[in-house]
Each structure stands twice: as structure tokens, then as C-alpha cells.
Amino acid sequence: MKEKILNILGELRQYAINKGISAAFFYHEEDSYLMRFANSAISLNTNEHLVRLEITTYDGRKRAEYQMITDLNQVEQMKAGIDTAAEMMKHTQPLSYDPTIPLYTETYADESSYDQALAQLSNEEKLAYFNQAAEGLETGEITLSGIFSSGTNITAQINTRSEHTQYFKSSDAQVNLVLSHGAQKWEILAEQSAQQKADLDPAAVHSELAFLSHVYTTTVPQQIPVGTYDIVLGSAAIGDLLDLMNWIGFSGGMMKRGFSFTTQEQVGKPVFSEKFTLVDDPTRRETFPYKRDVSGIERKPFPLFTRGVFDGYTWVQDDADEYGAQPTGHTVMHKSLVLHCGDQPVDSLEALVSMPREKDLLYIPYLHYMNIVNPSRGLITGSSRFGALLLKKDGSVAVPFNVRLTQSLLDIFGEKLQWLSSTEKIANTSMSYGARNPKAIVLPAFIRVNGLEISHSNSAF
């Protein structure tokens, strides 16, 4: 299949050259499988095999793009797409800058993130995983929801500047299981991310769910007062916060357009706590990394914040072209974010609950429906969900109804950051919008942030 894809891309390149068209081709192929559970049943079992082709044509400062969902037998249709993009380009207007067509100096292929065993996992194996992970935890009132999303992702590129190609193939799985109570409406969650079949561990998911389920079924939920709390965030919440930071924190283009809480003047200066070190590290296989970006730049670990100091912005090629910056190898479908762990020895939720504590701690594993209230201030809002706990200083544990947190990332990861756990976790932050794009963040299992304000507290789930 790889040869067929690259041959077709080569044929398209030659077609463009023969017509005197400068063009770049981005190929995306996904073989996606999703088993969805609801009300303890498989509510949907689906698969999609889709081939996408993006054709960008250039004429000096003019640029146009034609995209198609097609299949590999439709080469003539693809060639017609080149003609369409070229025709469109005549009617566009020049940019104020020179857009770069990448120059690939060698042919590159990376299939190291592909595990055939994971990619070809059968329906029966997925169902068996779910059955094991939820074994004994469902009742008439407590039902199982969740997804087992898995698949293969292929991207490939070529352009008219050279005959060299880039080719990437990866496998991935994102699993989440939710137990929810029909009448009380509480929900608890356990998640797992896999790049290879060996990463799948239904027993670990079962253990997490069993612990939370025990707490939730033996504790009467309560409304907690609004006010200031010391909060421990779980890996899913941390991952989503870092995903937002990726958007409004260190993107050069977003900064230039006024949608960032950092400024150029802050490069080299402390922005966050000394405990905060964030790297884009494509050497971590768990992040489904791209080791070269679409511009052909080799991707190496790229420091973003080191001990709280802002190391600098990431620049995608087009923003770099527009704003006169150097591209940093970040013209990729996703980065490979790694938040360094700290030294707090807490490796599981059970361990967190058992830790001695000098005051009440609010544990929030997940922040639901987060949004950016004010990008310039890093202000975000979201609600707790999926298994929050109030860990009381007397050692007891209460179940709080969901609460709302409206807070700045500058506070969460700034001086209020108390500790990061020494145990690492993987937060799979893939979305199933549009083209398959598996991504995950490596991060501490827990972080503690002191003195965050809860602005709203539910009176029920």
C-alpha cells in the first residue's frame, strides 16, 4: 500500500510539473473503528475507511487549495483536482508575503509508531476488553458507557520542488469507560491510551473504576460551599488544560494575532512556577509523534517552558512566512507535549486518598466543556466531572456535586502550583472531529494547586 500511495503521489507531481503548476500534496488515509457503549450495550459499532487529498498550488505569492475525499482508484479525479486548484489560484489575490513550498532533501518514511496488532484488533477483542474492564461493576442502576476507538493513520507528502516524499504511519487506540448512576446521575471515568497492543491493560482500568465506584456507592454526595480550595487535578484535567495552553500559550501565530496570554517580551523570563517544565518531545512514542513536520524539518525535543521560564514560541511554516520568523518544526497535525513530573510520590488515586493532609483537598479528575473566557489573560472555565472527591483533612472522603472553576492558566501553573506527582501518565486528547489525528500528552498523574476559587457549586449531579 505504501508503494501505491507514493507512486500515485509521484504521478500527481509529474502531472503538475507537466502542466507548469507548482503544487504540494498532502495525503491522509484513515482506517477508523469505533465501538461505542451506552446503557451497558454497544450502541454503535462503526468503521470508516477514508482517503483525503489536499492539493495546494502556488504561483509566487498566490495560493489556492483543493481538498477531496476520494480513493486510490480515482487518480484522474485527483488530477482534475490539481487543475481546479490551479484555476482557482488565477482568481485569488497575492499574499503580502512569500509562502514557502517545502523542499524535501531526502525521502523519509517512519512507520515506527505502527503496531499491526493494535491496528487490526478485532471486534471480539474490543468487546472482551470492555467486558473485563467493567466486570462486576455494572448493576441495574449503574450502567456502562464508553468508546473503544482504534485505527490506522497514514499521512504522506510530496511537492513539485523535489521528487522526495515523506510518509508516516501510526496505530492508535483511545479507550474510555464511564460508569453512571441512572437516578443519582453521578459519573465516573477511567481512560487508557495505546500506541501498541501491549499498552492495553483492562485490569488497570477496572481497578480505577472499582475504586471510584466503591467510593461513590458508599458515600452520599453533597454540595460543597463556593470559595477557595486547594485542588488536586487528575491527568485528564491537566491534559485538557495543556491542550488549551497549546492554543493560546506558545503559538507564535496566535500571539501575533492577539490571542495569547504570553508576549514576545516574556521570552526568557519566568511565566510559570519553577516546578513547571513543558517540552514538545517527539521522541516519546506515546504521543503518536511526527518526527518530521510537513515542511521537512526534523523534529527534536523543543523546550517550551523550563522551570517556569518561557523558552519561546512555536512557529508553523505559514505563520513564520507571514511574520518573518523561523519555522520551528511545528507544521504538524499535533505536537508531542510532555509535562515533566515532579517529586510528589503519589502513583494512584488510592495513594492520593491515603496521603496525610493538613487541610481539605478537592480532587478534580476531569474538567468538562472547558472554554477560553479571555485568551489575553489565559482565563478558562469548566466544570468538574467524572469522579471528583473532597479529601478531608481528617482522612475521610466525601463526594462533591460538580463545581465550576473559572481561573487563569497563569495561576494554575504559576505560583499556586504546589506539587506535581512523580508518576507519569498518558492523557489521550484525540478528538474524532474530521480527519483521524491521534494525539496524547505525557504528564504527571496528579498536580496540586493551592488557593483556586470555585465560583459555582451544584446542588445535584
Partner: protein, 484 residues
């Protein structure tokens, strides 16, 4: 092709499938243009085609889709295999509400097919808007237009055959500026329904010119405004934010699949329970809401849903009382069975898929609030002692059961003693859904009612982005927390 689809459907029926349908997209085209500070950053056209197959077997769904239609039999087999495995874990076997077999077609109204308009004319329009917005105080300006055109052919094992041809137009302009504190502010204009059709004629130069001037003026007012106070007071929501309030806390809350727990693994559930229908006072007596897919000329009116059910106009909330939901064939059967009484009388015709490669799920149609009798915006302001008028969605966040929310808006105008006093920036408000709608004390008349479009409503796994509409008037809610 249609005959081949029918043959495959028949083949699976003979093999034991309870129900089979196929949606064939011969061609879906889109065009997306974005100009940013005078640069045509994006000039993209796209096409896609393919088939999605849905199979019901022993009470479980299987679905498969492909852009390669040369292997139709294999595609149908894959969907059937997926259903067979799903049938191994069934707790409530899927049943579909009765429907008539329909042979019909639907075409969305448009005068000028935007795909017949030269690209250069579209670019000229954007350049003109960009130039109009290039004013003092504006540091970033963006304008864009998205066009979609799709043909959908639906056939099922119950004898339905429906063809839909739909054109959508979603233009927008926006300006951004930075205040003295370094905070970026935005004002934007996204026209909703502005005529009887929605083709290229939507791109009304005068309308856009007038609104470009308005948003530049309002942005400059925001840039020098004081912060929205932290307070509790009345909020007067203009359609530019009321549509989103309706979307998040009525629309999503009343999707029947969500109520029945089918979205719990992702975007969450609903505070609404089956026993609430006919009993829950969702809002004050001034609140009447409906799911109206018969409203002419909006993305929420599509003729027939992807179950093959004709468009309907269904009450959701009648003078404050919860009476209905957004429904499709499967969920009404399950809800009635679980409630042990007939809450829903057949499908509400709201099962839709975003593309051939996604399965249909309950989606909003036009979730509208009826206009009221409390007069114009000026009348409502005159009758407000202490409030703030809010407009423009900036951010939105809702609780996992749609029970509470937090919204930020682009602009606010403080109202004191029946008069608009001054503009405020960084305005936010939050509330609890039922309490909030029960504090609805004024609903504007027809002059305040606008149909706003939504082009990016996300739901489901795999995720689907859907287009729909909201017809909403100006509404006033009392005792609302603002400025947090």
C-alpha cells in the same frame, strides 16, 4: 447506483437484518475563503463522495462507510458484521417507530448557486469588507465565507427513497482590537436568515457594509470601556447571544438520546428525566420553545431527516412547561417503553448525520423561542431598573448535564433606571438552567425576533458537526450573576 443499493439492502434483509438503509452522497462540495488583515489566507474548495450503510440486527446497530464505492457488497457486509458483534451486548433492543414509506425530494431555497459565482467575485467581496473594516482601533480583521452544496440519496428497507439537494452559505466578518490592559476584544457579524433564500444572494453588500461599520464602532467603544461589574442584576440577551443560550441549555438538554444516556461517555447527559415531560416547569410562562424544521430557509430545515421522516414543528416547552424533545425513530420507542407510557407520538424527524461517513443521531433542527408581547428592545430597556444588555458569543461552557452554564460576551451595555448608560467589556454571566429560565421576565415582540444560524454544532462519537438554526427574540432574565 440506486438499484445497486436497493439490491444490497434486500440481500442483507434476506440474510436476517431487521432494517437497512444507505445514504449515498454522489457529490458534496464546499468552498471556504478566509481573508485576514488583507491576506487571502485560505482559498479552499473540496469535494467528497461515498456511501454510508446502517444495519439493524437483533436490536443492535452496525455502520460502515467508504469513499470507495467500487466494493459495495463488501461495505454492506462490513456494516452487517459490525451489527452482529454489537448484538452480543444488547440491553434494550433497538426498535424503530413506525413511519410511512416515502418517495420524495427536497431542495433548499436559493436564487443564485454560490458555486456558479466566480472566485474572483467572492475575493472582491472579501477585499471590500476587509477595506471597510481597516479602521482606527482595529488591529486584526477577518472575513470569510463558507459554501456547501450536497446531494443526498436515501434508500431503506422499508421502501423509502428520498433525494435532498442542500446549499448552505455561512459568511462572517469580525474585527479585533487591544485595550489599554493588553486584552484583545472582538466584535463580529454573522448573518442568519436575511431573506427567503440562502444562495449567493445572502452576500448583500449593503447589509455587510452597514454591519462592518457597526462592529468597528462597537469595538472602539469596548476598547475604552470599563470592566463588567461583578454583580447580580437583570440581563437582556440580544439574539446574538440568546441563540447560543437556547442552543446549549434548551437544544442540547432536550436531545432525547442525551436524555436517555447515549452521550454520557462524551459531552454528557441532561438534567431532564423522562418523568419530567408534562411536569417540569422549565421556565416562566413567557417561555415557549419549539423544534421547527418547517421554518422556511434555514439550515435546520432539511425536508426529511436521515431516518426518512418528514420535517415537523414540535413544541418543546409550552408556556414554561416541558412537553417535548428532539427525537428520532429509535429513541422515542425506547423512551416510551422506559417511561411505561406514550410520551412521544412517533419520531420528531430530527435524526441527522453530518456526512455519508457518520451515523445519524438526534440533532437540533431550528430550536426557536416564540416571540412575546413585551415590546421592542427599547420597551424592555425602559422597563428594566438595573440590568445589562449582552451580545456576541465569546465563550460558552455548560455543566455535564446542561444544568448550569457560564457565558462570556463580546459587549455589554449597562442599563440603569430604564436607560442605557454605557458600554462594558469582559462581560460574563452564569446561572442554573431551570432557575434561569424561570426568571425570564420579558420576551421581545416580533421586531426583536431573528433567526441565527449555527454552522459548527458538535456532537457524538465519532464526532459530527452539524448546521442548524435558532429563531430567538430579545429576552430579559432577572437576578443573574454577572462579571465572574
Amino acid at each position: 447506483m440506486i438499484n445497486e443499493l436497493k439490491q444490497q439492502i434486500e440481500r442483507l434483509r434476506n440474510a436476517g437484518a431487521t432494517y437497512v438503509d444507505a445514504r449515498w452522497y454522489p457529490l458534496e462540495e464546499s468552498s471556504d475563503l478566509t481573508m485576514w488583515n488583507g491576506n487571502l489566507k485560505n482559498a479552499t474548495a473540496s469535494r467528497e463522495s461515498g456511501v454510508g450503510v446502517r444495519v439493524l440486527y437483533k436490536g443492535a446497530w452496525g455502520f460502515s462507510a467508504s469513499s470507495d464505492i467500487s466494493q459495495l457488497a463488501g461495505l454492506f457486509d462490513k456494516a452487517f458484521d459490525n451489527a452482529r458483534v454489537a448484538a452480543e451486548r444488547v440491553t434494550f433492543p433497538v426498535r424503530l417507530a413506525e413511519k410511512d414509506a416515502i418517495q420524495a425530494s427536497f431542495t433548499s431555497p436559493n436564487e443564485i448557486d454560490p458555486f456558479t459565482v466566480e472566485l474572483s467575485e467572492k475575493v472582491d467581496f472579501l477585499k471590500e469588507m476587509d477595506s471597510l473594516m481597516n479602521q482606527s482601533g482595529v488591529v486584526q480583521r477577518a472575513s470569510g465565507m463558507t459554501f456547501m452544496k450536497k446531494q443526498i440519496i436515501f434508500v431503506d428497507s422499508e421502501g423509502s427513497e428520498i433525494e435532498k439537494k442542500i446549499i448552505e452559505v455561512f459568511p462572517a466578518i469580525q474585527v479585533m482590537g487591544v485595550d489599554a490592559q493588553g486584552v484583545t476584544h472582538t466584535r463580529k457579524y454573522q448573518p442568519g436568515r436575511i431573506g427567503a433564500t440562502r444562495g449567493w444572494e445572502t452576500m448583500d453588500r449593503k447589509l455587510f457594509t452597514d454591519n462592518a461599520a457597526r462592529i468597528v464602532k462597537e469595538l472602539n467603544e469596548v476598547l475604552v470601556a470599563e470592566d463588567c461589574p461583578r454583580d447580580t442584576r437583570s440581563v437582556i440577551l440580544l439574539p446574538g447571544i440568546m441563540f447560543l443560550q437556547t442552543h446549549e441549555t434548551i437544544g442540547h438538554a432536550l436531545e432525547l438520546d442525551r436524555i436517555l444516556g447515549y452521550e454520557l461517555a462524551y459531552a454528557g447527559g441532561s438534567f431532564v428525566r423522562l418523568e419530567d415531560f408534562g411536569k417540569l416547569q422549565y421556565g416562566s410562562s413567557k417561555l415557549t420553545a419549539r423544534a421547527d424544521a418547517t421554518l422556511p430557509n434555514t439550515p435546520g430545515s432539511f425536508g426529511y431527516d436521515d431516518d426518512g421522516i418528514p420535517a415537523q414543528n414540535n413544541l418543546l416547552i409550552d408556556k414554561g412547561l416541558l412537553v417535548g424533545a428532539i427525537t428520532g425513530r429509535q429513541m422515542v420507542e425506547e423512551a416510551n417503553a422506559k417511561a411505561r407510557k406514550p410520551i412521544f407520538n412517533g419520531s420528531g424527524g430530527a435524526n441527522r448525520a453530518t456526512s455519508f461517513y457518520r451515523v445519524p443521531i438526534e440533532r437540533m433542527t431550528n430550536i426557536n423561542i416564540d416571540f412575546g408581547t413585551d415590546g421592542t428592545l427599547d420597551d424592555i430597556v425602559k422597563n428594566t431598573e438595573k440590568g445589562v444588555i449582552l451580545d456576541g458569543e465569546k465563550s460558552w461552557s455548560i455543566g455535564s448535564n446542561r444544568e448550569q452554564f457560564h457565558f462570556a460576551t463580546d459587549i455589554g451595555w449597562v442599563v440603569e433606571d430604564g436607560e442605557v448608560k454605557h458600554v462594558v467589556k469582559n462581560a460574563t454571566y452564569r446561572g442554573e438552567t431551570v432557575k434561569f429560565y424561570n426568571s425570564l421576565t420579558a420576551v421581545g415582540d416580533e421586531s426583536t425576533w431573528e433567526v441565527q444560524y449555527v454552522d459548527n454544532c458538535g456532537k457524538g462519537q465519532p464526532n459530527q458537526v452539524m448546521q442548524l438554526g435558532h429563531g430567538v427574540p430579545v429576552c430579559r432574565f432577572d437576578n443573574v450573576t454577572i462579571g465572574e
